[in-house]
Amino acid sequence: MIMRRGQQLLLPANPVFIWGSLIGALLLNMVQNMGLWGRAAWTPDVMVVVLVFWTVHQPLRVSIGAAFLFGLLMDVHQGGLLGQHALAYTVLSFLAITIHRRLLWFTVPSQAAQVFPLFLVAHAIELILRMLGGGSFPGLGILVAPFAEAALWPIASIILLVPQRRAPNPDENRPL
């Protein structure tokens, strides 16, 4: 197998963990909305980060269909235009699939720089759709969101790979 130098060979991903993390991202988005910031435009969409992450790492399990479904759920939760997030996430997931073979050859910070345009495109799609649909401009805070999501990429790639980085043969000295 051809791999980047110094990269650790990972354990197979657990599907339960993958889908659990996607649902967890949905819950995190809801908590951000319900408890922390209300309807601020700058809040990072955690769902976007986790979706791109799994589309890049496990394209056979999480891909465009899942992105569409979670987009619909986000739409229903947000109560905006039904299909707006679904379209944005679909396009995002497609772009993530087109770069998934290249992206993992880079270090994590430069991966974050390369997924940033994807997040930007997703937010631009939503903004354009809503402006066409007669929404009111939410303020320049919306520009902060893609940066915040790109900043979450390294954190996501640590947390979401933890179960796959465990030892293949745990013993007493190395229980995890």
């Binding site: 980047r4 809801m30 908590v31 319900m34 309807r39 435009a41 229903v76 396009v91 929404g135």
Partner: protein, 307 residues
């Protein structure tokens, strides 16, 4: 096989499913269809309600830490602030007591006068209380979610008030919650009456000047409106009962070249921090039906036989 992973099963060689591009095409087309059906034809409410029912457990779960944190914050709030709030509430109550006591007498008087003049009785709206759970996340609109829904007989279009004035209108009803569009939303209009002059108008949500404001549109450039005027609901729309406070005029701009004056108002209700609200039943259910229009006589054609 994903890069750098020890997967046990090799990736499928022949059955790889539809290509990413075709999936993109199908899903985007479906999303566009949903958007058009939702925005233009308004037929997606059943799907929305179904998905909302699926999503409700997740929302309930996400609310737990929020409620816990709020409860903890209340637990640690100072005694002095609680006492201050109580003093303010008492002051407000004593201010209102005089008016409240007069209402009984005035309503009896009003009823007798109406009987004397042969007018219809004033319509009374049934009210039920609700709680605002959270702001709707969509930053392009101004909406909140309240904790009463179809199960509590909330009707689409019901006016929603808080203790200071009209807050908005129920625009979507789910089984257990409902969505309230605030009066400051750009697409929300409310018929109002200037209590000083009696002139009626329509106020629209407006976010151009500052975050939460209203604009009284279509008032002539020389209309008698001054800053400080109180706007209440006019009651001619068949939805809102008359006389509920809506907004106060903040600024009037009269330009020479414009036909209409630009009138900015600030809402009296706490549009960004309301917690407890009242949901009124819309008056449209109680208004008598419009009388059947009398059939207009069809003019006889030239040459037709008169019977």
């Amino acid at each position: 096989m994903p890069l750098g992973t020890l997967d046990r099963d090799p990736p499928p060689f022949f059955r790889q499913g539809p290509s990413a591009l075709s999936k993109l095409a199908v899903c985007s087309a479906l999303a566009l269809f949903f958007m058009v059906a939702d925005a233009r034809f308004k037929v997606m409410q059943p799907l929305r309600v179904g998905l909302a029912a699926v999503l409700y457990p997740a929302q309930w779960l996400a609310m737990r830490p929020v409620l816990l944190a709020q409860g903890a914050a209340q637990y640690f709030s100072l005694l002095s602030s609680a006492q201050e709030a109580q003093v303010q509430a008492q002051m407000k109550r004593s201010e209102l007591s005089q008016r409240a006591n007069q209402v009984e007498q005035l309503s009896i008087e009003n009823e007798r006068l109406r009987k004397l003049l042969g007018l219809r009785d004033r319509l009374e709206a049934n009210a039920s209380s609700a709680q605002v759970i959270y702001d709707v996340a969509d930053p392009f609109t101004r909406k909140v979610v309240i904790d009463k829904g179809l199960a509590n007989q909330v009707v689409l279009g019901s006016p929603v008030l808080d203790e200071f004035g009209v807050l908005g209108q129920v625009t979507r009803v789910y089984p257990l919650v409902s969505e309230v569009t605030l009066i400051t939303d750009r697409d929300q209009a409310i018929p109002v009456l200037n209590t000083r002059t009696g002139a009626r108008g329509v106020a629209f949500g407006d976010m151009t000047t500052h975050a939460d404001a209203l604009e009284l549109r279509f008032m002539a450039a020389n209309a008698d409106v001054v800053a400080g005027d109180l706007l209440t609901t006019s009651g001619i729309d068949g939805i809102y009962p008359p006389g509920l406070a809506v907004a106060r005029v903040e600024k009037v701009e009269r330009r020479v070249d414009a036909v209409f004056a630009r009138i900015y108002c600030t809402p009296l209700a706490m549009v960004s921090g309301a917690a407890h609200v009242m949901v009124l039943e819309p008056l449209s259910t109680k208004i008598p039906d419009r009388p059947e229009p009398t059939p207009t006589p069809v003019p006889l054609k030239k040459g037709a036989q008169k019977s």
